[in-house]
């Protein structure tokens, strides 16, 4: 069992991206991005290889798209400015600044479910990520493969409101039993 073999197997099921990361800098060896539909297949691969589940959690990427656009716009503006300066330096007439194209509505921000797996024998921490839209955060459960994921998914549901479709008992674990809020969402206000 080595990380390269796992990488191949995960690529074979059609994961969107399987990146080897530098363990010493990141603390995990494989960074796998999958679509929610491929999640169960990817986890099954790890299960067959004898991985154990370390944790399931989420990340709320609220404002990410806006930030990306802002970054892109800043880049365009910077380029235009550089061009203008270059032109001015050359003594030419500054070109008319192109109007920034109207970019339509922002794409929806995502909630990311993050799964950490590790192996008892060899050092290969695999991180699987799957992104779902914030308005409809539904991810298939993996608790039928790893019963230990049961609690982790309940916790993630508590904190982020990610619905684990097919989970047998998705009630609050750490929050009060009537909690209908998700405190780790970035727009959560107590």
């Amino acid at each position: 069992m080595n990380c390269a073999a796992i990488k191949q197997k995960l690529s074979a099921i059609g994961a969107a991206a399987v990146n080897e990361t530098e363990y010493g800098r990141k603390g995990f060896a494989l960074d796998v991005q999958v679509a929610p539909e491929q999640l169960v297949a990817a986890v099954s691969v790890l299960d067959a290889e004898g991985f154990f589940i370390e944790a399931v959690t989420g990340v709320d990427w609220l404002g990410e798209q806006a930030a990306l656009r802002k970054e892109a716009e800043a880049k365009v503006a910077a380029e235009a400015k550089a061009k203008a300066e270059a032109a001015a330096a050359a003594g030419e007439e500054a070109p008319v600044a192109e109007p920034v194209a109207e970019q339509g509505e922002l794409p929806e921000d995502a909630l990311e479910a993050v799964y950490d797996f590790n192996h008892y024998e060899s050092l290969c921490r695999v991180t699987i990520r799957t992104r779902v839209p914030r308005s409809k955060p539904e991810v298939p459960t993996i608790s039928q493969i790893y019963p230990g994921a049961d609690w982790h998914e309940r916790e993630t549901h508590d904190f982020f409101g990610i619905k684990f479709v097919g989970h047998p008992y998705l009630v609050p674990l750490l929050l009060p039993e009537d909690a209908d809020y998700h405190p780790l969402l970035k727009d959560f206000r107590p």
Binding site: K26, G27, F52, V59, V114, Y120, P147, L175, L184
Partner: protein
Amino acid sequence: MSAFAESEAKETFVLNLGPQHPATHGVLRVKLTMDGEYIAEAEPVLGYIHRMHEKMGENRTWAQFLPNTGRMDYLHALAYNHGYVSVVERAAGIEVPERAEYLRVITAELNRVSSHLLWFGAFILDLGGFSPLLYAFDDREHILDLLESVTGSRLTYCYFRFGGVYNDIDDNFVPGTRAFIKRLRERMPMYHNLVTKNIILMKRLQEVGPISAEMCRKYGATGPVCRGSGINFDVRKHEPYSVYPEFDFDVPVYDQCDSMARYMVRMDEIEQSLRIIEQALDKLPEGPVMAEKVPKILKPAKGDYYHAVETARGSFGVRVVSDGTNTPYRLKLRSPTFSNLSLFGEASQGMLLPDALALMGSLDLVIPEIDR
């Protein structure tokens, strides 16, 4: 056990074990569906001491979160310190002076011994033996005194800093620690003679509460729980951090899978920790205990980082997501007992109540760490 399997569970009742119960060591509640004294179903109910440390982390700077770490696993607070500072150092690329790493290992291992001693006493208390608790606390007191002289606190330590430790040891620490090691080595045979070899204890622990290696894997159990099931997994060896590779120590593994195996793993680990401390004291280098160029306002590079450490209860992992600002964007704390306890429901099925409590004790629960 077979008596339960053969008879059909017709008349069951619900027994609420906790959140105020002598055996749950804190505010854990277990909803037991009982068939007589046999457990038909056990559902741990968590959250009674949930404080949302992860949200707190998002609202304070990287350094301000440090004291929180000692308040999760209050019995092995220094390992939690260690996990968090390590991940931030990894994210921000801070180099730690060697002396600081040695001090971290020495104090963290002392803390591990104190945690195991407390567990030992409390576990025997669960089984109805009162006196070992006081003996264990007597020894533990020496560790607390030593750690107090270095860290300034006795329970919820916050000793490690990004780039080192905040305070160098005093002159009395090294001889004091050596004296303590000698003392505890003399006391361990007494513990084994009085407790481990006790026929009642052996009858209560052997072949009780089996947890198979496969069950450990499916539930992500780590630490003494998985090492009592024959899995040789210790983060200190598996993904070595700090200066652990420089020490010669063994990972005790027992493959009986029962409560006795988990008991023996912890008792043997005390000796191994003492070995580590001894070697570290021998090799302790001179030098600064704090890195020089640690920025006052920490802004780790964008991205996410993971770091795991071995606490007294298993693998504690911290995943941080940094967005390049002075506060963490996301902070995930993977606590070992959370996973270890999650297998209790399956493992305790069909067991008698006292046996299930022996199993629960052998998992070494620290509730604030589960609930975070």
